[in-house]
Symmetry: C2
Subunit: 155 residues, 2 copies
DNA sequence: GTTCCTGCAAAAGCTTTGCAGAAGA
DNA sequence: TCTTCTGCAAAGCTTTTGCAGGAAC
């Protein structure tokens, strides 16, 4: 996708294509690793020295509102952004932390108890171990588990 | 579920049933509104004046590790907890903010691209408008939308 | 006595807000 | 000029960490 395409995409969604927004959306399009605000900022500030995080926040919020991106809540207390707004699921590897996309047939998910609800969007999120980490497997190195509190051992 | 049941549940999962943990798990069992740490704290501190938020965090973490509760990331930059660890989906109403449970047939969700992955858990999350808010409908009052930035209007 | 639990205070980290200057039409 | 965009600094919140006193066994 060229810069010209990004510009047209922004305009098509009613978002003014400032250079900052162009660059942020371009970054999102090129880096499908579901970057955080901080990652986007750290990379783009090298090219746009006056960039501020506030602007990154503002732009991403605008993108989400206008369906140019979606926000993921993957439980690191940090939002992740994805320029792919089509329906797909996300998988987080508990070992390496990487987030993978996967295809999913949303239409055929059978749901019970949402009668009368207006559903705007559905998302599916999985956790586990990715094939790469399975190979090098020793143990889950994620510091989030077994950190401070120990389970009670009955005797 | 009586306190005695809660105690046995904790012991069965290898978690020492201290009075604090009992009360926190009891609260979670009784309030299926997916409370936040702060909500749990504010309610229980009235009964246990010396309670600290740290302890609430610690206990909930212990519960999650030992499958006594699950943590939800519903995008308020705040963790929510659910004592129902069975497979079910969550729906957030964008108008009132309430989170609803719904049934879902996880086994039959067709997924493509997770071959070779070890999947520990799947979750489904939807957003929209609940029946109650649909009735009183005017507009989505959620302050998160249209807050600070305006979309570009082409002329 | 040893281990585990609890909690205060402080730190850390992400996100939002206020306000003002800059840019664009 | 008027509106919109940008960004610094500060504030707001949730969560984590260090450390120590206390409870349990």
């Amino acid at each position: 996708m060229t810069i010209k395409d990004i510009q047209e995409l922004l305009e098509a969604k009613g978002v003014k294509p400032s250079i900052t927004r162009l660059k942020i959306l371009d970054y999102l399009q090129r880096h499908r690793s579901h970057p955080s605000v901080d990652e986007i900022y750290r990379n783009l500030v090298q090219e746009i020295p006056t960039l501020s995080k506030t602007t990154v926040y503002n732009s991403l919020e605008l993108f989400v509102e206008n369906h140019l991106a979606q926000v993921l809540h993957v439980g690191d207390n940090e939002n992740r952004y994805d320029a792919d707004v089509s329906s797909h699921g996300h998988f987080k590897c508990l070992s390496c932390g990487k987030i993978y996309d996967f295809g999913i047939d949303f239409e055929n998910i059978k749901v019970e108890g949402l009668e009368g609800f207006r559903v705007y969007d559905k998302s599916v999120y999985c956790q586990g171990i990715c094939p790469h980490c399975k190979v090098n497997e020793k143990e889950v190195t994620n510091g989030k588990y077994g950190k401070r509190r120990n389970a009670y051992r009955q005797n």
